[in-house]
Symmetry: C2
Subunit: 230 residues, 2 copies
């Protein structure tokens, strides 16, 4: 059985090498920063994960997941996102509250529990932040998506996901932006990226700090399967 710590390393590795997907491998410093520990700590731990055949790694080299490591990490993310969905849809938590609680729930190991929960929730495809939920085989839909910061002036798009950070989520609530909403880029200031968007009957001026954390697809694509460029 993996410890909390080991599970968190695998989860971070999936996020860095599968979701962010600049590359399938990652350095010690990057992983350390992501887990908020020192590189020395990661150096040690990665050796342990290698002994357990959860990562590929050679001294001074890059870290990547084995297929077992990837599966185990994906299961942590599956649990995290299913619990977030449960908290949101059954216990009426708001989307900015669920992450913190799911950080604990994701480490409850019972496989039967998570599959029953999945069924109880009617096999949801996405969590409250629009992130796809891996299935019990560890497979996940990775829709091609852009950030709102990348959409050209004049174009329209639909929000399909948001980075799961309390400040982002609360800010979006405040200006009444939400998932599935149609947004049009009315104007973008070259100087600082300040963007004027229209959504619903409103118009807001937002900074890249927000737009870089909002993921969109072009308006005409279906939420689940969009593969076009916005």
């Amino acid at each position: 059985m993996l410890s909390f710590t080991e599970e968190n390393y695998l989860k971070a590795l999936v996020e860095l090498t599968v979701f962010e997907a600049e590359s399938e491998e990652v350095g010690v410093n990057r992983l350390a920063h992501c887990l908020d520990v020192k590189p020395a700590t990661v150096s040690d731990m990665v050796r342990k994960l290698k002994d357990k055949e959860l990562v590929h790694y050679e001294k001074y080299g890059k870290i990547s997941l084995t297929s077992e490591g990837r599966f185990k990490g994906m299961m942590v993310i599956r649990r995290h996102r299913l619990w977030e969905t449960f908290l949101s849809s059954k216990l009426d938590f708001s989307w900015d509250e669920v992450h913190e609680i799911a950080e604990e729930l994701e480490h409850v190991h019972s496989e039967k529990l998570i599959n029953r929960l999945d069924e109880f929730l009617d096999f949801p495809e996405f969590d409250p932040h629009g992130d796809a939920i891996p299935n019990k085989l560890g497979e996940i839909l990775l829709p091609s998506r852009k950030t709102l910061a990348e959409v050209e002036v004049g174009k329209s798009c639909r929000i399909i996901a948001v980075r799961d950070q309390v400040e982002v989520l609360q800010y979006m609530d405040r200006i009444e932006l939400c998932i599935n909403q149609e947004v049009t880029i009315a104007h973008r200031e070259e100087f600082d990226g300040l963007t004027t968007i229209t959504h619903g009957n409103q118009s807001s001026v937002v900074s890249p700090k927000l737009t870089e954390n909002i993921f969109v697809v072009c308006s005409v694509c279906s939420k689940a399967k969009c593969t076009c460029d916005v």
Copy 2:
């Protein structure tokens, strides 16, 4: 924030000094046995819990809970029993499966979560094994109850709770005994305590190993409030 380990010590102390209630205090050996660790380990840990003002304790003396320790321990039990109820009533787990999973879920700390869960379950009074669920103030109903082994021959009683142990629960399923069921003591062998009971249309011969783990009240009393002797 308390660690898993500290929470398990407090939970065990509540079980020994509140529920079993031979006495409000307990020795190092007894607690060690209950937690499946060595007395040396408990000696150390109890000093730590004393520093945190969770227990009363003097070297070579007995251990007892402070009111803060009692409250914190009671909250662990509240979480345990609410999750067991959730697993049983919402996710269709059988009563012998829920304990193991609740041992992990009970350490998820969010107070808001547990109060929302309580509401979602419609404020249940008892868990699937008939044990009362402490309220958010740490108060709990401790109904006077006997074990089935103590009921006299010829008398009838109703099962209100069962010790939460997989083997006991599975055995009861097998002979079709369950909570709220009416049972009559038809005969008891002096020699070895083997007891013949009638329940429903059946009759079974059961040993003290079973009857000592089944809690009952007299038939006419209400489940929740019985204070009479069977």
